[in-house]
């Protein structure tokens, strides 16, 4: 992950890279919006023009001026219409471009994540992936769909207004536009003041977010203990502290920003125009008629300017999102072997050689593991939780690659095996059952979409779930999560049917029967026993009695193999395995249970 920090571009670069495919369209949209807003202002100039004609004509020339006025009105309305049309087209282009880039980014992330090491997913909450693909991309919306067109519109309006006013009288234009630089002066002062406190404010923000997470997740626990006051108090404190920080943070800003806002309010601009207009007229520098355009156009600049300063908020949010997306798109992928490196396994032998691995390099989870899985044998891995059992199984499935050492299948390093070839040979049933929101049929045939209905049903029968499926409202066509309501054990059996249909020569079972109820456990046990016949089996067991007949039992402790052998050998050894066996009280259970049978 260290290279990620190095490659993290600054905000603007990230935005421009992420939006690269639609840059042209956004530019076009902004230009259209700008042009449109310029044209939409023509009627304002027309008002001044009409006043000029009407008042300049005097009572005698009025009949002649009439035609000119009508022409001016007609032309200005046509311009207005065209302007509106251009702006609307610009908006539409921007929105469609946004929709396009949204889909493009989501698919790009999907494609990228389909190649990253599987372990990447276990280290992250699935919510994070959703956050990036849905929420962060959604945040970009305000940038792509709104920012560019709004900016184009505002800049266009401000630009044409300023040009027009300067064309009429430069002295008056300078005076009329004076409030606007003043606005930026205040604005810059406020931004500077906020920058000084920003660090503190952000740290408060992080703190309150943490407090909220703790409150929200902790409150059920605290309520259960009848100590509602406690978690609540720390939440209350965090809220109060934050609002104090917020007040302190905004206090210097409010006054400055209020001045800035008041300065460019239409009233203020109009006041300036009229006061100085009257002054210049009385000085004889300009005519009264020349004041009109200023009174019409200058106050209109404030709205786009305010909007422009407001939408920079969106820009800040979007740059954060763009940075996260950029980083996500740069996630290192699990290296697939180059075609010339690819090899095919010669047989089903699995060797684990000097394997070490740690999620965090400082804390190795597995240290120097050596292991052989002979075809057709059963190997069990036992040990306390946290001893590295599941990690070992996941390395065999290439969820991640080992830090040191290697795993070979049929003489081929897993890293030189195409992942399709790998998963054709190694099947798995994990404790965490994952069914897809799709029909039961599709769920079973996930690995072989071309399987016939007979094959699917045969697999379901082998997994002891066929009858159960027939009882669902729409049988095999029932959709999981909708009309197919299945218990944990039933889901597990569907996932076994999935593995059965694929029929791999090597099977990894990770605590496949943990945490399911009794009737399910029996059905699963039967299904697995049938299925496992003839397979090379790697079993991770939390109950030792289920694996007491394995060909070899491996005892892991803190990432190392500390004992290895058959059940009887390990018991005789009197070591860790013997202690675990005693702790499980397996003998005791059968003694207690037997009389009741």
């Amino acid at each position: 992950m260290s290279n990620q920090d190095a490659s993290l571009p600054n905000g603007r670069a990230a935005v421009s890279q992420v939006l690269h495919p639609i840059r042209g369209r956004l530019t076009l949209a902004a230009l259209l919006a700008g042009l449109g807003s310029m044209l939409a202002l023509v009627p304002l100039a027309a008002i001044a023009h009409i006043a000029n004609i009407a008042l300049g004509a005097g009572e005698s020339g009025w009949s002649q001026a009439r035609g000119e006025v009508a022409w001016a009105v007609g032309a200005s309305l046509a311009c207005l219409l065209l302007g509106l049309l251009l702006m609307s087209v610009g908006e539409a282009i921007a929105h469609l471009a946004d929709n396009h880039i949204t889909r493009h980014l989501r698919l790009a992330i999907t494609a990228r994540l389909a190649q990253v090491p599987l372990g990447w997913f276990s280290a992250r909450a699935s919510g994070e992936v959703k956050q990036a693909m849905q929420d962060d991309i959604g945040t970009l919306h305000s940038l792509t769909a709104h920012f560019y067109t709004t900016a184009g519109r505002c800049v266009g309006a401000i630009l044409i207004s300023a040009l027009y006013l300067f064309a009429i009288d430069w002295r008056m234009a300078i005076i009329a536009l004076l409030p606007f630089p003043g606005f930026f002066l205040f604005f810059a002062k406020a931004t500077k003041a906020s920058g000084a406190n920003m660090q503190d404010f952000v740290s408060r923000l992080t703190r309150i977010n943490t407090a909220v997470v703790e409150f929200v997740h902790g409150i059920p626990v605290v309520k259960a203990f009848g100590a509602t006051g406690k978690a609540h108090d720390s939440y209350r404190e965090a809220v109060d502290e934050f609002s104090a920080a917020f007040t302190a943070f905004t206090r210097p800003l409010v006054g400055t920003m209020a001045n800035a806002n008041a300065m460019i309010a239409p009233v203020a601009v109009l006041g300036v125009v009229l006061v100085f207009g009257t002054l210049l007229v009385s000085l004889g520098w300009i005519s009264a008629l020349q004041v009109l355009p200023f009174a019409i156009v200058a106050p209109g600049i404030s709205a786009p300017l305010m909007l422009l300063s407001y939408i920079t908020h969106d820009l800040n949010n979007a740059t954060g999102a763009a940075q996260r997306l950029h980083a996500l798109l740069a996630t290192p992928v699990l290296e697939q072997p180059a075609p010339e490196q690819q090899q095919l396994p010669s047989d089903g032998q699995v060797y684990v050689e000097h394997l070490s691995y740690g999620y965090d390099p400082q804390q190795p989870v597995l240290i120097d593991i050596n292991l052989r899985l002979a075809p057709g044998t059963v190997t069990a891995i036992v040990g306390a939780s946290g001893s590295g059992k599941s990690t070992l199984a996941r390395l065999l499935l290439r969820f991640f690659d080992p830090d040191q050492g290697r795993i070979t299948l049929g003489g081929v390093d897993l890293r030189h095996l195409d992942s399709r070839e790998l998963y054709r040979r190694i099947g798995f049933v994990l404790q965490e059952v994952r069914l897809i929101h799709a029909s039961i049929s599709e769920n079973i045939a996930l690995g072989r979409p071309d399987a016939s209905q007979q094959e699917i049903e045969a697999a379901a029968r082998a997994a002891n779930i066929h009858d159960c499926i027939l009882r669902l409202p729409r049988g095999y066509q029932s959709v999981f999560g909708e009309d197919a309501q299945l218990s944990g054990g039933e889901q597990q059996r569907v996932s076994i049917a999935r593995a059965v249909l694929l029929d791999p020569p090597l099977l990894v079972l990770d605590e496949a029967t943990a945490a399911v109820d009794a009737s399910s456990e029996l059905a699963i046990a039967q299904a697995l026993s049938a299925f496992a016949q003839g397979c090379t089996l790697l079993v991770i067991a939390h109950r030792l009695d289920t694996v007491m007949h394995a060909d070899q039992i491996i005892v892991l402790e803190q990432g190392r193999i500390i004992e290895q052998g058959k059940h009887a050998q390990l018991l005789a050894l009197g070591g860790r395995y013997a202690r675990l066996w005693a702790l499980g009280a397996y003998g005791q259970t059968s003694e207690q249970a037997l009389p009741t049978c």
């Binding site: 609307s88 699935s126 919510g127 909220v212 997470v213 009229l274 009794a518």
Partner: protein, 586 residues
Amino acid sequence: MLKTFIRLLGDDARVFRRYLSMAIGYGLLCGLSICTLAPVLSALLAGDTAAAAQWLVLLVLSMAVCWAMRRRLDKAGVAVGVAVLQGGRQRIGDHVARLPLGWFTPENTARLNHVVTQGMMAVAQLPAHVFTPVVSGAVTPLVLVVALFMLHWPLAVIALLALPLLAWVQVYSARLGRRADQAYQRSAAEASQRMVEFAQAQAVLRAFTGGNSTRFLQQAIDQQHAAASRLIRMSATSAVLNLWLVQAVFAALLIAALVWMEGALTQASVIAVCVALLLVNRFIEPLLEVAGYGETLRGAGVQLEAVAEILAAQPLAEPVVGQAPVDASVELTDVHFSYGAGRPEVLQGVSLRLEPGSMTALVGASGSGKTTLVRLIARFFDASAGSVRVGGVDVRQMTAEQLAAQISQIFQDTYLFQGSIADNIRLGKPGASTAQVLEAACQAGVDEIIERLPQGLWTPVGEGGARLSGGERQRIAIARALIKDSPILLVDEATAALDAQNQAAISQTLAHLRGKRTLIVIAHQLSTVVMADQVLVLDQGRIVEQGTPAQLAEAQGRYAHYLAQRQAAKGWRIAAAQPVDEQGLT
């Protein structure tokens, strides 16, 4: 929307009302000040600079007042924002703290988290950045209509008629947009679900679908894309409608002014027309601004709806003074329960009595109602019908503290608070001595964890217990329940027994407390069931068998069948490859 905002503010609503009346006042004053442009320009165009100067004095004065008011208005807006961030957050906190435990599903928790953090920040920005321009932009034109009346009434009539039309179109197009928005939100939710699935089921997807693991997600993304296209068409239409309509009003006013000019005979009336056109311009501009805020307002509406939904959740009714329980018994009388109206009943008339100090094992297939039954005792929810009595008192007649003091649970989610292991255990009994904490830790098998860690009992657990494994967190949660030492203990073995050590800790706990506390266990282990004084077998929300383990074993009913299955599952062995083991069940 306004209603939710005021409800969120509660007692602080007066801050908001004050702000709102100031915004209206500001809009009025701005309008009035702008009106002075009429006499100023009239005088100026007529060549009477002195008269213009007199009016200018008034204009400058009112400008100064506007300025001062704008400052106060902005401050008031920030005060509303602070009230949202402080008072609003506190109110949501207080409200949520009173909600039943059953409310805290993962979806609700995620939504709450979002609302309190990002949602409140967004809502707090509303007054200063959105409400001020919208409110003053809606009020100012009203004043200008009055001024137009004085100049030329037909213009004023057009302007006046346009206002309700504009408001109606704004509301109507927002409604249209909302419908497309809802359809879009649905497809977005589906895509989100696929994204979560894509991450959670990645191993399965990749291993089983070869090179095509992204098929389902791609479909969902394409559907969301299509829904977004429809939404864009819709909201583009409504934006265009709003904008064009305002401009159409402008065009109508322009043409009306032109018609008026046709008949204008004197220089003075031509000046009046010109001045009126300026007022028309000032009338239209704020309306354009308001029309531009349509989408922002709709977004704010979505945030406030999420707040309204949380505030709409009903807390369980509690008496002011509760009745104290008299013993450690539990009694259910004809209890019915379903998760929401129209959903199937999970419990259908359950009656039972658990004597103080007895141990009861609940047995049944998944979905039979065991978990719901135990949750009703802890008052996660109230029964739809019938009564739940703890210590002889209906749970609805007790305060939350009284009930909580009576019951310990080992099944709640294992969330740990930031702090040390000792802090987390002590949560169960705030005044506990270190010796007591250690004792509970030993009983729950936490001693083994403590020994391994350099800081022992004082090791920080990290946010949410992130530095510990699932089994370790679970054991600390068990210790927390044990130190509480309440008369009734509820245990869900299936979710609490993550691994062999946890299972051992629970077995020891049960053996140790048997006869001393009222124990209710959702039993998973045979050894637990046979230890119980009575076994309740549930099936489809009903108690179908009840008695001592020995009685039921002889009855040849469901329990006997369960035992046989259990025994068979227990006897399940993964066979060694060679020779084939005869104990294998195949």
